[in-house]
Symmetry: D2
Subunit: 354 residues, 4 copies
C-alpha cells in the first residue's frame, strides 16, 4: 500500500525531528527574538550568497500571501498561471492579505508562463479604471511538476522589470526544482530576477516550516506587522526556526529533494514503458501526471494504494507525488501493481538476478 | 538566573514532545482530514460535556481573530477590556480577520469588564451610522492575571444575550483560570454563556497549538474557509492535533496549569511578605504584577534574572509569569535575590530546617 | 464635432434637472429618511411588479460592488464575462467591497456568457481549498453593446440556482437593453431569475443616480450598513432620489433609452453601408464597435470628432456610444465625415430632396 | 415650525443650484478629466496659498475615510476624539477604507483633543505587537461646535511630527470654523501642520460636494485608485466640481458660514438669557448643545419644531444646528416658543420699539 497523494502526507525527516527535540531545552525569547531565528536568516544569506531578509512562516499559503502582499497594493494585479496554487488552492489567501488585489490568470503549457503571455496580459498602468500591474508569481516547481530554467525566469523578469512588477516565486517545491537544475540557489532566484521567494520546507521534510525570503530587503519593510496581524508570528518561533536550521544543514534540503526526484524519475520510467500509460507533462521534479488504462486506477485504489485523480473527470489523469521518504520498494510495488492491472507482461525478476 | 518573562519562553512539556515523536510515523491525510484531528474534536466534546465544533490553530492571535471573525460582520463592534490582548497586542489581527470591525475598549479594575460597563457601552443597534454591536470578548485569565468566576461570566453573558452579542473567550490561559476555579470546563464556558473559546495550549506546554471551540456549532459554518484563507490550515495538521491530544490526556493541561499557578502563588506569598513590595492585582493564575522598591528590578536584571517592566514607565510595575516548567528552586532563588536587593532580612533557612 | 466617447459625457435630461430644482425647496430629513426616497422604492416596486428593496446610489461602480458584496462572502467567487465592467473597469471595487472575493473571468462571444461556459467554470463548492461559488454577474446591455434575451437570462439563472449562486445584473444600460427587448421590466429581471439589479440612470439622463434593487429583499439585510461604511449614504439623499423619481416618471427612462438606441441603429445602418467598414458586434443597444478603413479614425479625430479606440491596438476597432441627447444631425454629420474620409461616394442629398 | 436638526436638512444655495444648471450644457470628458475639475484644484491652491492636490468627493464620510486611508497602513492607529464623527458616526468607514486600521479614541473637553492627551496615548512604534501610530484626526469645527485655534492645531501638529503621524482634519464644517477664526485658510491648515483636509461644502450650501485636499501632494500618490475602487469617481464629475467652483466663488463659502454662525450666536444669546436653560459647550460655530427645562423640548416638538436629543438620555441635552439658510425670523420664532414654554417673561417687543 503506497501513498502517493502528496508530499505533505509524510512526517518529518529524522534530522528535523532531532533538531526539534534539541531545541526544546531551556528558555528562549519569544516571537522570533531568539538565536535560532537569527541563525536561519544568516544561513539563508550564505546559501543564497546575498544580503536578504528572511521570515520563518509555518504554512505555504501564508508565506505566499504575505510575500505577495508586501509587493502588491490593494488595487494591484498579480499575474500568475491559471493553475497556480495561489489562484486555485488557497481559498483566496492572496486576495485576503493584499486587501483585495486581483489575480490575473494566464494560460501556458505545463503550467509555465511564457514571457510573451505575461507581456500581452499587462495593461492599465497609470489608468485609474484598472487594477495596477504589481507582481508576477511563478511556481517553482510548477503545479504540473515542471521546472523553470534560470533563463526562463530571466525572460519573465525582464518583462516584469519593464512593467515595474515585482517577481515572486512560490517555492513550495523549490528544493525539488533546484535539485533538477544545474545551478546555484542564487542563479535560480535573485540573479535571475526573483524578488521574493517562498522557500518551502514542509513538503520536503519539515513539520511546518517555510521562509519568506526578500532579496530586496527594502520590500520587507512592513512584513513583520503584516505577519503579526495575520496571526503568523509564533510565540515559540524557535521551533519553526529549528526546523529550517536543520533543513539547511548538511544539504539536507537538497538530499531530500534529490531522493524525491529520483523516485519520481524511477516511477516515470517504469510507467512510461507500459502500454496504454502516458505522462501528461515532463517529469522534472517529484510530481507525475499520468493517464492510465481504464480500470487501472480503480484497481490500484482497491488494493489500498492512494493517489488523486487530477483535472476534469473526463481527463483520466492522476497525480502521483513522491517525497523524501519514498522508498524504492514502494515505487516498485506500485509499478508492479500497475503492470499487473493493465495486463502488461511482468518484468522477469528471476532472470535479472541470474 | 530565572526567566519570568512569559510562559511562552518555555519549550514543550515532555508528554507533548513524546506525542509529536509518535505522530511522526507513517503517512496521514493532509489538511486536517486525519484521525488525530478527529480525535481532538471528540475529546474536547467529552471534556466540555457538549456537542461542539473545534479547529486546531497554531497561534493564539489567529485563534482569537478567526473566532471573532466568525461572529462579527465587517461593520460590527467587539467590546473588550482596554487592556485586552486582542486590543493591544495583536497588531490589529481582529480588525484584519473581520475585514474592519471596531474594537470598543472598556475600562475595568484588574482587567475585568463589569456587566454594567458593557451594558452602558453598547449603542447604535439598528442605526446605520454606527457600527453594530456584535460580540464581547473576555480574557480568561485576564491580562492582569485575574480570573472571572462563572457567575461573573454569566452576568456578562446576560447583557450579551439581551443585546444579541456573541460571547468570545480568549482562553490563552484558560487552563490556568480553570485550575483556580472550582468548576468544570463546561461551567466555566458554555453553561455560563460562552459561545466561542480560544482554548490555549501553547503557553501551557505545547509547541504551538490552540483550538477554536464553538459551543454553538452553527456559528462555525464558514470557519474552515476563513482559516484556509488566513493561511492557518496546516497541511501536516496531525502535528498540531497530536499536541492537543497529549495536552488533553491524563489531565496534562490541568496538571501543568496547577503547577504554574502554584509557583505564582509561592512567588506572590514570598514577595508580599517583603517591605516595599506590593502586588497591583490579586494573583489568581500564573501572572504577577508587582511594584518593587527603587533599584531592585535593576539589580535583579543585572544578576541575569529576566522579566518585563509593565505599564507606563512611571508605574514602577513589573510582570512575572510562571509556567508549567517553573521549579520551586527558581522561585526561591528569585525571592532570595529580591530580599537581598531590597535589604529585607534573609529568611533564616537553617533555623527552619532545624 | 460630435462626441461619441460615452453616454456619460452628457449632462442631465431637462426633466431631471427640473426635478432637482424642485427638490431644492424646504428642508428634508437627511440620510434617506425623506419622502422622495420612499417614493422611489415604491415606484420601482410598481415598475417591476413585485416587492423589492431599493437603495439609491450615486455611481455605477458602487452600485455593482455593494450589490455583489451583499451576496458574496470574502471567500466567494463571482463569475463574470472577462470583459465585464466589474472585472476590467472598476479598479477592483467588487474585490474591495466583498473584502477580497475572486472574480472568475469567462469567455463568450459578444461579451455574453453562455450557460454551459458558466456551468463548466463552477468548481470547488464545499472544498476548503477553493473560493466558494457565490454569484454570477451579467451586464445588460453588455460591454459589446449586445442584449441578453429573457430566455438567455433564464438559462444562466438555471445554472446559478443549481449551484446556489446569486444572479446579479449590472444594468448600467438596463434601460437601453429593455428598450430593445419586447418584454416588461419584470420579465427581463426577477421573472428570469435576477436577484440583484444595478438599475442605472446616470448614463441615460441623470446627473449621478443608480438604484440597487433587491428582488429578494432578505438579501439586502445588511446593505444599509455596507453602504454607509462605503461612504455612499448621502446626507442630502433626496437629491439622488429626485433624479430617480423623474427618471421613472412618464417613462422618461424608456423614452431616453429608445432615442439613444435609435441613434445607434441609424449610425450602424449608415456605417454598415460603407465599404471597408464593419461592425464587430450586433448593435442591440446604444453602443457600436466598428472597424474603420486605415486613416479614417485619425481623420475624424482631426476634424474634432471624439470617440475611443477599443481593444488591442492592432484590432483597428473603435467604440461609438450614442445617448439620450444625441441628435439625428450629429449622427448624419458623423456619417458624412466617415464617407468623405473613406472615399465612399457622397449620398446625393440634393436629389433626395428634389 | 423650525428645523434645527442639522445643516444637512437644507437644500443647496441658489448660487450652487445656478452653477449646476449652467454646468448642464454640452458634453464634458468623464471621470474628472474635465475643465471644471481642473479649475477647482487651481482655485483651492489660490485659496490656500500653496501647491496642493485636491479631489472632489460627494460625501464627507468618503472624504474622511479616503483621506485617512492615504496616510494610514492597515496596521496603523488613527488617534481621534472619542466623539469624532469618524469614530462614532461613519459605521466604520475609516476601518473599511484603511483595510482595518484602529481608531484610538481620546478624551477631551468640548470634543477637543489636548496635545498632552495625544502624546500620552501614542505607543508601540516599531514594536510588532502593536498597531503602528499613523495619523491623528481633528474635527474642525468639532462635534461639540467648538473651534481649534491655529495655535492649538500647531500644538497637536508638533506632537504628530515628533511621532511621525500625519495630521488629518475633518472639515465637514471647516467654513464655519474659519468664519470664527481671525485667520487665513492657510493659517488654519497647512501652516499649522495639517496634511490632509476634508474641505466640506455639503453642510454649507452644496448638494453633495467635498474636496479632499492634500497639502503634501506626495501623500496623494495612490488616492485616485482608492477613490475609484471605492466607487467614488463620478463619471459626470463636472457636476460635483461645479458645486465646489461656485462655493469658492465670491466667498460664498464664507458668507454662508458667517450667516449660519451668526444665527447660532443669536440663538445662543437668546437661550442663555432664559432661566433654566444652559449651554453645554461654548458656541463657536453653527451648533448649540443646550439643556432645557423639563418639558420644554417636548413642547417645542409638539408645536412642530424639529431638533435632536443628544448624548445619553439622562443628560437632558439637545442639539440645535443652524445653516446658511436659517432666517432670523426662524431663530426668533424658536426663541419665543422656548420662552413661552419655559414660562419666562416674554420679551416686550413693543417697548423696545418705543
Amino acid at each position: 500500500m503506497v501513498n502517493f497523494c502528496s508530499d505533505n502526507v509524510t512526517g518529518a525527516a529524522p534530522e528535523i525531528l532531532e533538531a526539534l527535540v534539541r531545541a526544546n531545552e531551556g528558555a528562549a525569547t519569544a516571537y522570533g527574538e531568539d538565536e535560532a531565528t537569527r541563525r536561519v536568516e544568516a544561513r539563508l544569506a550564505e546559501v543564497f550568497e546575498t544580503e536578504l531578509a528572511a521570515f520563518p512562516i509555518a504554512t505555504g499559503s501564508a508565506a505566499n500571501a504575505l510575500g505577495l502582499a508586501a509587493v502588491t497594493p490593494p488595487y494591484g494585479a498579480i499575474y500568475c498561471h491559471a493553475e497556480a496554487h495561489i489562484n486555485v488552492d488557497e481559498c483566496g489567501a492572496p486576495e485576503f492579505y493584499s486587501a483585495g488585489a486581483k489575480l490575473v490568470p494566464l494560460a501556458g503549457d505545463h503550467a509555465k508562463i511564457a514571457p510573451e503571455t505575461l507581456d500581452g496580459a499587462i495593461m492599465g498602468a497609470g489608468v485609474v479604471h484598472h487594477v495596477q500591474p504589481a507582481a508576477v508569481s511563478l511556481s517553482q516547481a510548477t503545479e504540473s511538476g515542471t521546472v523553470y530554467r534560470p533563463a526562463e525566469v530571466q525572460a519573465i523578469a525582464e518583462v516584469a522589470r519593464r512593467h515595474d512588477l515585482a517577481l515572486q516565486m512560490d517555492g513550495a517545491r523549490f528544493a525539488n526544482a533546484l535539485a533538477t537544475l544545474d545551478c546555484s540557489p542564487a542563479e535560480a532566484t535573485w540573479r535571475a530576477g526573483v524578488d521574493v521567494l517562498t522557500f518551502g520546507a514542509t513538503k520536503n521534510g519539515a513539520f511546518a516550516a517555510e521562509a519568506v525570503v526578500f532579496f530586496r530587503p527594502e520590500q520587507a519593510r512592513d512584513f513583520a506587522y503584516r505577519r503579526k496581524r495575520g496571526g503568523h508570528l509564533f510565540s515559540k518561533m524557535r521551533f519553526i526556526s529549528a526546523q529550517l536550521e536543520a533543513y539547511l544543514s548538511d544539504e539536507l534540503w537538497l538530499r531530500n529533494a534529490r531522493r524525491a526526484n529520483a523516485m519520481a524519475a524511477r516511477l516515470a520510467a517504469g510507467l512510461a514503458a507500459l502500454p496504454g500509460v502516458s505522462l501528461a507533462h515532463p517529469v522534472e521534479a517529484n510530481e507525475l501526471f499520468v493517464r492510465l488504462p481504464a480500470g487501472v486506477a480503480q484497481g490500484l485504489m482497491a488494493e489500498g494504494h492512494r493517489f488523486y485523480p487530477w483535472g476534469p473527470e473526463e481527463s483520466g489523469e492522476y497525480r502521483l507525488v513522491t517525497a523524501f521518504s519514498t522508498a524504492e520498494g514502494e515505487v516498485d510495488t506500485f509499478l508492479e501493481a500497475v503492470r499487473r492491472l493493465s495486463g502488461a507482461p511482468q518484468e522477469e525478476r528471476g532472470r535479472a538476478s541470474a
